[in-house]
Each structure stands twice: as structure tokens, then as C-alpha cells.
């Protein structure tokens, strides 16, 4: 669905990702893992087309991002930003209806089909009762769920989410993770950035590790989410513990004379 070729990302002259060759297919759920400042959000913004690559290229459905018309692109991929700054007093339902924007360039008002899509999305995220509220009065978690509902209403084959679990309580973190897994089984593709390894392990099929110095590892979660790689990536020893049929990731106590050294070194 989306593929990158030799994609290189920089921020403030620092190399974040070097020559990334990456391919996300329909039905796959990818989690992007890496330490703070490793370029996870930058990668997502680049893949969403909100930012030009510093090298290499990104293609959606085989066509370079720059060649896509913006409205057509908006019907192919949805993007959840990490933070929301609400300057105006829009109602919750209005913010979700706006996600239908790419579908009716010639209409002034939304139709009943848009209202149906918006309400279904709000119901899925368990926020339909907030529909008439001013978005600025919502709690952080409620606002986050409304934003994810808007993403659903955009109804795209590819969803890019920057820390979707942010500010959510435990129950909703699990619910959102399961929702994304369900969407993938229905043939969509999801790429999400997250810091919770256990959520990533339970929800994702694939993982992309950004090491923070340009290096990266991509593959299925089984291939990539190995304690040694994760420890090197996150700069802290991590243990994977079998718990019945499940695997649980825990931060390990740092050993003396640590085998693991932080890999984030600034030039």
C-alpha cells in the first residue's frame, strides 16, 4: 500500500533515519518503536505527505506522494496528529463531520450519509454522548477518542496514528488497539507510533524499530521485537517474559557493567 525507497530523514541537521526501504501492505498493522527524538513522528508526517523527505521517496499505491492531488490523497490515508490545539469552539460532531471533507468538494453542507458515518464513528469510540459538546471542554482522553473517531469517519484504507494511546485510560487503550487490529483484518493498513511495547505486541503484526542514529529494523513483530534489539533501541535492558500463551515486556534492572549502552549519541 505504502512504500518508501531510500528514505532519509533529518531534523536540525541530525540524521534520524537513513535509507529506509519499507513496505506496508493491506492487512498489516505496523507499530513504530524508538526512543524520544528518534524520528517516529517525523517519519509519520513524511509518509502522510505533510512534510517532504530529506532524501529518497515515498509512494502510495505505486505513485509518488508528490504526484497525488491532495483531495484524492485524503481519501487514501488518514493521519492522527500527536497533539491537538483547539483554538475555536467547534462541537464534537462538527470536528468529526469535517473528516468527511475529502468526499464532497462540491457540496456546501454535509449530507445524511456523512452524519451517519460521523455518528457511527463516534459510537465506535464510545463518545457519541459527547456529540454536542464544545471540543475545548473535553478531557484529554475524550478529546483523543474524538480525534480517532474523526479518523474513522475519513474512511481510508491507510491509517497513520501518532501515539493513539495518548491520554487514554487502560480500557480504552486496549479497545483502540483491538479496533485497529479489527480494521487490519478487514483489509486496511495501520501504522501507529507508540511507547507501550505490550500494546504493540498484542495489536501489531509488524514492527519498525528506529534506533535513533539512522539505523532501523523492520519486520514482523516476532522477528523484530526481540529483547536484544529492543534493549539496544530504547537504551534500557528489556526482558520478554512468557506469561501463559502471552509474552510480556518488562524493563529489566540495569546490570552492573551493562552490556547495553545507550545508543543515542549526538555528533
Amino acid at each position: 500500500m505504502i512504500s518508501t525507497q531510500d528514505l532519509t530523514l533529518r531534523a536540525d541537521g541530525r540524521l534520524l533515519v537513513e535509507r529506509l526501504d519499507w513496505r506496508v501492505n493491506a492487512g498489516e498493522s505496523w507499530c513504530v518503536i524508538g526512543p524520544n527524538g528518534a524520528g517516529k513522528s517525523t517519519l509519520l508526517r513524511t509518509v502522510a505527505g505533510l512534510r517532504a523527505p530529506d532524501g529518497g521517496s515515498v509512494a502510495l499505491a505505486g505513485k509518488p506522494l508528490a504526484d497525488w492531488a491532495l483531495p484524492a490523497l485524503a481519501r487514501e490515508r488518514a493521519y492522527l496528529a500527536q497533539a491537538r490545539g483547539d483554538a475555536f469552539a467547534y462541537r464534537v460532531i462538527e470536528t468529526v463531520l469535517m473528516a468527511r471533507h475529502p468526499y464532497h468538494a462540491d457540496r456546501y453542507w454535509e449530507g445524511s450519509d456523512d452524519h451517519a458515518a460521523a455518528e457511527a464513528a463516534l459510537r465506535t469510540l464510545d463518545v457519541l454522548h459527547l456529540a454536542e459538546r464544545d471540543v475545548r471542554t473535553l478531557s484529554g482522553g475524550e478529546r483523543q477518542r474524538v480525534a480517532i473517531a474523526a479518523l474513522l469517519a475519513q474512511d481510508t484504507p491507510l491509517l497513520l496514528l501518532d501515539e493513539p494511546a495518548n491520554a487514554l485510560d487502560l480500557a480504552h487503550q486496549v479497545a483502540v488497539t483491538e479496533l485497529m487490529a479489527t480494521l487490519c483484518r478487514a483489509g486496511r493498513a495501520v501504522v501507529s507510533v507508540g511507547h507501550d511495547l505490550n500494546l504493540a505486541w498484542s495489536g501489531a503484526t509488524h514492527a519498525l524499530l528506529l534506533m535513533g542514529d539512522g539505523r532501523w529494523h523492520a519486520g514482523t513483530t516476532r522477528e523484530v521485537m526481540r529483547p536484544d534489539l529492543l534493549s539496544a533501541c530504547l537504551g534500557h535492558p528489556i526482558a520478554a517474559i512468557a506469561h501463559g500463551a502471552r509474552t510480556v515486556f518488562l524493563p529489566d534492572a540495569p546490570q552492573s557493567g551493562a552490556a547495553v549502552t545507550p545508543i543515542r549519541n549526538t555528533p
Binding site: 491532495l70 488518514a78 490545539g85 475555536f88 469552539a89 467547534y90 469535517m98 473528516a99 471533507h101 456546501y108
Partner: protein
Amino acid sequence: MLGVLGLFALLAFAAAGLTGSVAVPLADLPQALASLAAGEPDGMSATLLDLRLGRASSAFVTGAALALAGVMMQALVRNPLADPYVLGVSAGAAVGALAALLFGAALWAVDLGALAGAVGISLLLYLLARRELGGLRGGARAAVRSGESGVLLLTGVVLASACMALVTLMLSVAPESRLRGMVFWMIGDLAGSGWRLLPWLVLLPALLLALRRARALNVMALHADAAVALGVDVAFERRFLFLCSGLLTACAVSTGGSIGFVGLVVPHACRYAFGPDHRILLPAATLAGGGFLVLADTLARTVLAPQQLPVGVLTSLIGVPVFLFQLHQLHLRRR
């Protein structure tokens, strides 16, 4: 909703036509209007109506342009407390107009000076903050999150204060005889303005174009740069907003001087009453702004009749308490 505002505007026109130092009796209205429509005002009532409606139409188009520009500017900088003057357009116009007044130029030259000043400062601002307005897609290097960094706003404010320094300089060297006219221009005054075509030629297309992209403006107001993800060409819309609000403001200030607070209070009040949806907000603010300024101008020439007050005094006197009240309300709700 819009019907009510339309009615309000019409009533404002009627009030403007009928009241004044010499009242026009209601009974004379049909006949006077008929002779006006025929193009040859005869009789006292018709002449008065001609003068007053001409002035009222100027007031309407000025108020409407300011309110519309205010809505656009607030969407552009994503701050509901911005006004059309915040980027220094009026300060630029003041420099032009006051320079013309200082050299004792004719009235049309003053208007021209104001227009030139407003356009000049807009161009300068555009050049300085081009990258920010360029936003995404426009420039390949879009790492700067435009709109969030405030470069545009800050540049505008700094340019405005530079212009105000020039204005103060001119005021301090101006001869006594010209000072009064200059001060009146600064406050905003519609006395002596009659039927004008040009502001309408800017206002109507600007409104129509803005209505066409009202939905995109909503998306931008909500998502800022991330509006790109919903298919909105943010860079293009930003330039459109900048250009349109600049033109509207330039037209307004060259008609009536820098009339304060219409561009801030009217969009704000409309947002408060009708919500932030630009599809309603744009036409509502245009009608309300026009009607409000017609009423304010009518008041300005009647409260101390036959003495005329500059209309800017009244709009600020009404505007400041209304604004403070709303600001307080907003603060209470946010807590």
C-alpha cells in the same frame, strides 16, 4: 438566522435615512425613494435621503469588509482574538493617509494614500513572512510548522509599531490647522463619504470566494497544518486569506479611516451567537458588521447633533465593554 441579520441591516439603513439633525418623516419615505430611484432627487426629503443613504452605504460596506476581514484574519492566525489590523494593514494605511493630509492633498489623494500604504505594508509583510504563508506543499522545506511559530503575527506587529512611529512623527511635526483632520482620520470617520462603488467590488467577490472555501477554512481552523491530511491546500488557502483580508481592510480604511473594534467584536459576537462554522459565520459577520457600523455612524451624527462625532469613537466605546465581557465569559468557561 441570516434573514434576521438581513432585516437588521435593512432597519439600520432605514434608521440612518430617517434620523439626523433634520428628521425625514416616515410618510415622505415612499415618494422620496421613488424620486431617488428615478435618479433625480428633488425636494428636501429626497436630497437628505440621498446624502444619508450614500453615507450609510459607505458605512455598511466598510463595516462588512472589516468584519469579514476579521473572520479571515482569525482563521489565518488561528486565534479568535486577532483583528484585521493586527498585521499592521491599518497602520500602513495611516502612514499613507496622514502623509497625504500633512501635505494638504485633496480628499481623493488621502484615500489613495491610505490604499497605497495598506497595500505597501501587506506586500512587505508578505515578502518577510513568505515562508510561513507558503506553508506546506508550497515550499519543499516545510519543517517549520507554519501558523504555530507565530512568525507572521510577530512580523506584522513589529511592522505596525514601526508605522505607528512614523505616524507619531508626522503628528508631531504637523501644523495645527491640519492636526484635527489627521486625528479624525486616525479615529475613523465616515463624515463626507458618499456612494462608493469600489469597496463593493472588493467585498462581494471576496465574500463569494470565501463562501466557496468555507469548509476548507473550517478544517484549517480546527487542524492547522494537519488540514493537509484532509485534502486542504493549506498554503493556497493561507495566501488567499492573507490577500483577501488585506484587500478588504485596505478598502475599509481608505473609506473610513481606521475604525476600531468592528473587525474584532463583530466576528467574535457572531461566533458566540452562531458557532464557529465558517459557512454561517462568514455571511453572518458580513451582514452584522455592515448593520452595526450603519447604526454606529447614525448614532455618531445624531447624539450630539448638529455636531458630528467620529464613528470610531462610538465603535470603540461600544466595542471595548462588549469585548471585555466576552473575554471574561471565555475565561470562565475554560476554567
